[in-house]
C-alpha cells in the first residue's frame, strides 16, 4: 500500500464515522462536513502535484508511481462535485441525509484504497466495499427503478467477484504471493506463464464485468438510469471506472502486454474494447431517455480505455490514463446536468424536452462543452486522449482498429448532436415553458468541471508531461 497516500483514505473514513453523530440535531452539518473534507483533500493534492516548482521539474518530485495520485485527485474532484451538488439537490426533510454523505465518503475512501493498494486481495476487499456502498447509494430515493437497477448491479457484479476471487486463489497457488510487484517481475522473466495468465484472465474477466464492457453491460443502463440523480453522476463518473476500468488498466501494465507474453489476452481485450465502442455508440443513437443515452455513451467511452489497455504500449497506456481522467470530467458534467433537468423540468425523456436552451442556458452550454470533449473535438481534453489512443493503434500497425475507433468517434458526435437538438435546441415544449434554470450552487460544480475540460485541453503539454512520467514509472 502506498503509505504516502494513506491519509486520503483515512480522513474521509473518519469524517464518514463522525457525520451521523455530528448531524444528529442539525442535518445540514452533514453537507458541510462532507464538502469540507473533500475540498481539503483536493487542495492538499493540488499542493502536492501542481506547485510551480513541481511542474517546472517535470513532475519528478511526485511520490509513488503518479498514477495513484492522479486517480485520487479524480476521485476527490468528482466526490466534491457530487456532494456539493447533493447539498442543494436533496430535499430538506430527507431522513437518511447523514447516512447518504457517510456512504459517499466511505466510497471515496474505498476508491482511494483501490488505487493505492499494491496487493490483489486488498484490491478485492476495497472493491467489495465499493460494491456495497454503491448498492445502497443507488437506492437512495427508493424509486422502483432504482431498486431494479441496484438488484441488476448486484446480480451481475457478484459473479464477477467470484471470478476475481477464484483468479486470486489460482494466482496465490502458482506465484505464492499476491503482490502486484511479484506478478510484474514474473511477467518480465522468461519462465513459461502457464496458470498465471489463466488466473490473470479470470481476474480480468471479473473486472470487465464490473466495468460494464460489452457483452457484460446489461446492468449499466438500468443502474445509471434508475439511480438517485446525483448518485448516477458519482457512479458513472468515477465509481465504475475505479472498480473496473482502473483494475483492467493496472492488470494490463502488470502483464506487460507490449512484450507479447500474454498475446491472446491482449487481443481479446482489444476486441472487447472495440465491441464496446461500437455497441455503446450504436445503442446510444436509439435511446429516448437522456440518462439512458448517457449510460450507453459511457459504455462506448469505457471501450476506448479498454482498447488502449489491451494494446498496452506506453503511448496507449498514456491515452488510457488520460481518457480515464477525461471520462470522469465530462460524464460528471453530463450526468449532473441530467439531474438539473430532472429537478427543473421533472423528466429526462428526450421526447418531452425541447428548447431548454432558452430557459436553462448554463446547463445547455456546459453540456455542449462536455459532449464536444466526449466526441473528441479539438482543443478540448477528450480530443487529446482519443488522439493518443488512435496514434498508438496506428503506430502498432493496427490500422483497422484505428480507423474504426475514429469512425465511432464520429458516431459519438452524431448521437450527442441529436441529443442536444432534441433537448436543448429547437422549439420550446410545454416542459420547457415551466422549467427555470437551476440555482447557482447547482451550476457551480458543472461550470467548474467544464472549465477543467477546457483547461486540460489547452494546457495539454503539461498534462502530457505528467502522463509520460506515469507511463514510464509503471511500465519500465
Amino acid at each position: 500500500m502506498d503509505k504516502g497516500l494513506l491519509a486520503y483514505l483515512l480522513i474521509p473514513l473518519l469524517s464518514a464515522v463522525i457525520i451521523p453523530f455530528a448531524a444528529r440535531s442539525r442535518a445540514r452539518l452533514a453537507d458541510i462536513l462532507a464538502n469540507v473534507t473533500l475540498l481539503a483533500g483536493l487542495l492538499n493534492l493540488a499542493w502536492l502535484a501542481l506547485r510551480p516548482s513541481v511542474i517546472a521539474g517535470g513532475f519528478a518530485d511526485i511520490p509513488g508511481d503518479g498514477f495513484s495520485l492522479l486517480l485520487v485527485g479524480a476521485v476527490y474532484l468528482v466526490g466534491l462535485c457530487v456532494t456539493f451538488f447533493s447539498a442543494w439537490f436533496m430535499e430538506d426533510g430527507q431522513a437518511n441525509r447523514p447516512a447518504y454523505y457517510s456512504l459517499i465518503l466511505a466510497s471515496v475512501s474505498a476508491m482511494t484504497g483501490v488505487v493505492t493498494t499494491t496487493d490483489f486481495f486488498t484490491l478485492y476487499v476495497f472493491i467489495e466495499v465499493l460494491a456495497v456502498t454503491s448498492f445502497a447509494l443507488i437506492t437512495t430515493d427508493e424509486s422502483t427503478k432504482g431498486i431494479e437497477g441496484a438488484l441488476k448491479y448486484f446480480f451481475l457484479t457478484f459473479p464477477a467477484s467470484a471470478l476475481i476471487i477464484v483468479g486470486i486463489s489460482i494466482l496465490m497457488l502458482s506465484l505464492g504471493s499476491l503482490s502486484f510487484e511479484t506478478l510484474r517481475i514474473f511477467m518480465a522473466s522468461d519462465v513459461p506463464p502457464g496458470p498465471v495468465t489463466f488466473a490473470a484472465a479470470l481476474i480480468m474477466l471479473g473486472f470487465l464485468i464490473k466495468s460494464g464492457v460489452v457483452p457484460f453491460h446489461a446492468w449499466t443502463p438500468d443502474a445509471y438510469q434508475g439511480a438517485y440523480a446525483p448518485v448516477s453522476a458519482h457512479l458513472a463518473g468515477i465509481v465504475t471506472k475505479i472498480s473496473g476500468v482502473y483494475a483492467v488498466v493496472k492488470l494490463a501494465t502488470l502483464l506487460r502486454f507490449f512484450d507479447g507474453r500474454a498475446a491472446a489476452l491482449s487481443e481479446m481485450l482489444m476486441f472487447l474494447g472495440l465491441l464496446s465502442i461500437a455497441v455503446g455508440a450504436l445503442a446510444a443513437l436509439r435511446q429516448k431517455d437522456f440518462k439512458r443515452m448517457l449510460a450507453f455513451s459511457s459504455i462506448s467511452q469505457v471501450g476506448y480505455i479498454v482498447l488502449a489497455a489491451g494494446l498496452g504500449t506506453p503511448l496507449a497506456i498514456m491515452g488510457a490514463i488520460f481518457h480515464l481522467v477525461n471520462h470522469a470530467t465530462f460524464k460528471t458534467v453530463l450526468f449532473l446536468n441530467s439531474a438539473s433537468l430532472e429537478k427543473s423540468a421533472g423528466t429526462t425523456d428526450m421526447e418531452k424536452l425541447g428548447g431548454m436552451e432558452h430557459s436553462m442556458p448554463w446547463t445547455s452550454w456546459t453540456s455542449v462543452i462536455a459532449l464536444l470533449s466526449t466526441a473528441g473535438v479539438p482543443p478540448l481534453s477528450g480530443f487529446w486522449s482519443k488522439l493518443l489512443i488512435i496514434l498508438a493503434l496506428w503506430e502498432a500497425g493496427l490500422r483497422g482498429y484505428a480507423a474504426l475507433a475514429l469512425l465511432f468517434s464520429l458516431v459519438t458526435l452524431a448521437y450527442f448532436m441529436v441529443m442536444q437538438r432534441k433537448v436543448f435546441f429547437g422549439k420550446k415544449t410545454q416542459a420547457a415553458e415551466s422549467a427555470p434554470e437551476v440555482g447557482a450552487p447547482l451550476l457551480a460544480p458543472v461550470v467548474l468541471m467544464s472549465a477543467l475540460i477546457v483547461a486540460l485541453g489547452l494546457l495539454f503539454p503539461y498534462f502530457y508531461a505528467y502522463a509520460k512520467m506515469v507511463a514510464e514509472r509503471i511500465l519500465l
Binding site: 483514505l9 464518514a16 464515522v17 431522513a95 447516512a99 486481495f121 486488498t122 467489495e128 456495497v132 445502497a136
Partner: protein
C-alpha cells in the same frame, strides 16, 4: 487440544443456531460467528492465509451483504408464519450424529491435532493479520463502517412508511 475441540463444538453450535434462528438478522450474525470460529480453526491448523481470507470474506464481507439484504426486507414480510415442524426432528438427527461422532470423530481430531503440532510456532494469528495483511484490516474496518451506513440509510425510510 481442549481449545481446539472447543472451537469445533462452537462451530457446530453457531451453525445450528444459524439455521434454527427465527430472525434473519440473528441468523446472519450467527453465520458470521461461525466463520470467525472456522477461521480460528484454520489458524490453529497452521493455515494463516486461509484463516485471514475466511475472516475477511466470510466474517466481514458476506455478513455486511446479508445484513444489508435483511434490512431491505419489509417488516410485514417477516410476519409470515413459518413451518417449524421439521425442526422437531432435530434432536433425533443430533442423536444420530452423536453416535456416529463417537466412532469417527476421535481419530479425526487426533489427526488434526497432529497437524496442529506440526504447524505449531510457524505463524501466529497476530503476525498473520498484522504483518502479512495489514491493509486488509483497513478494508475490513471500512467494510463494517459501510455496513452500518447502509443500515442507517435504509432503515429510516422504512420506519417513515
Amino acid at each position: 487440544m481442549t481449545y481446539h475441540n472447543l472451537l469445533f463444538v462452537l462451530a457446530v453450535f453457531f451453525a445450528l443456531w444459524a439455521v434454527t434462528a427465527k430472525k434473519l438478522l440473528t441468523s446472519a450474525i450467527m453465520l458470521a460467528l461461525l466463520s470467525v470460529t472456522v477461521s480460528l480453526i484454520f489458524f490453529d491448523l497452521g493455515a494463516p492465509w486461509a484463516g485471514v481470507f475466511e475472516l475477511s470474506v466470510c466474517a466481514g464481507l458476506i455478513t455486511v451483504l446479508f445484513i444489508g439484504a435483511v434490512s431491505l426486507i419489509r417488516s410485514d414480510e417477516e410476519k409470515h408464519p413459518e413451518g417449524r415442524a421439521r425442526f422437531y426432528a432435530l434432536p433425533l438427527a443430533l442423536a444420530a450424529f452423536g453416535i456416529a461422532a463417537w466412532f469417527y470423530l476421535p481419530p479425526f481430531l487426533e489427526e488434526l491435532a497432529s497437524w496442529r503440532r506440526m504447524a505449531a510456532g510457524t505463524t501466529t494469528l497476530g503476525l498473520a493479520i498484522w504483518d502479512l495483511r495489514r491493509p486488509d484490516l483497513l478494508g475490513q474496518i471500512l467494510m463494517l463502517a459501510s455496513g452500518v451506513f447502509v443500515i442507517k440509510s435504509v432503515f429510516p425510510r422504512r420506519t417513515e412508511k
